[in-house]
Amino acid sequence: MGKRCAIGMDIGGTQLKAGIVRDDGKVLYQCTAPTLAISGREALLGQIGAIANDLKGTADEWDFELAGTGIGTAGFVDLNGTVAEATGNLPGWSGTRLKEEMESRLQVPVRVDNDANAMAAGEMWLGAGKDAEHFIMITLGTGVGGSIVHDRRIYRGREGFAGALGHQRVVIEGEACTCGQRGCWEQYASVTALRRLMVTKGVQASTAEELFEDLRNGDPAAMSVVDEYARNIAVGLANLIHVFNPSSIIVGGERLRLRETPCSSRFGDT
């Protein structure tokens, strides 16, 4: 063991993360770059291909056998590895045959999944879901992502689109959502929603970090924001508990960010 590896990539609306992962799950190298989100499909495909090729070269240098490249991307990914429907954060990504495109560019096997499913797979393998048979993963970021794990397998539904937990409706005529509905949970529980709440409640803090600092200092406005935000998150979780009867719910998100290495200056610096 130890001479086999795969490239893992996580394509978010704002950040792209990539790494070389050994077959025991150890991340040998990880880097990040701002996602070329608004430059359109070709630019983003080019960026993903260039970074993956770079990592492939590194794996070769290290004399590793490369099993292929796995990609988790925001959006609805079908069972053939096509991004059937993109989120509002990745314009032009809808309809991208990501698996096909990357296999022809990289000449290695490629598998594509939704980003929250990929995170759930990671947590199930080596993280907070290691011992759970049935769990729900939610990711709080620009939106709210979700993944359903049943009998230690990701539940995909008919077309692969299951787990869009952020689009459960929690308010009948609520805030407009990027999906076209109103009152989706992600309009209340995402980090975007938290920021909106901070503005409407008039807190001094401008980042989540500052907000939690104010909270520790007993600031009443900060307390009110955190209380309402926690309540918003809990409403959706209580629904999910009724539907799935899980043993645990794993919450991930951008506030858990670690220190990162930029991929390479030619891909854009962080």
């Binding site: 099993a67 499913n117 797979a121 926690a230 979780l237 508990i241």
Partner: protein, 48 residues
């Protein structure tokens, strides 16, 4: 952040058969690497 969330989940589910009892609400532990590790796992340990 997790304590108030747990508190509200408990509160909401008390009046609904107390289904929230016994559900662990926990923080993801792999942070930023979770998606990268999970995506790589699609190749290292392929399952549907």
């Amino acid at each position: 952040m997790f304590e108030p969330i747990r508190g509200y989940v408990k509160k909401f589910s008390l009046s609904a058969y107390n289904r929230g009892a016994g559900v662990a609400i926990r923080k993801a532990v792999l942070g930023n690497a979770a998606g990268v590790i999970g995506a790589a796992k699609l190749l290292l340990d392929p399952q549907k």
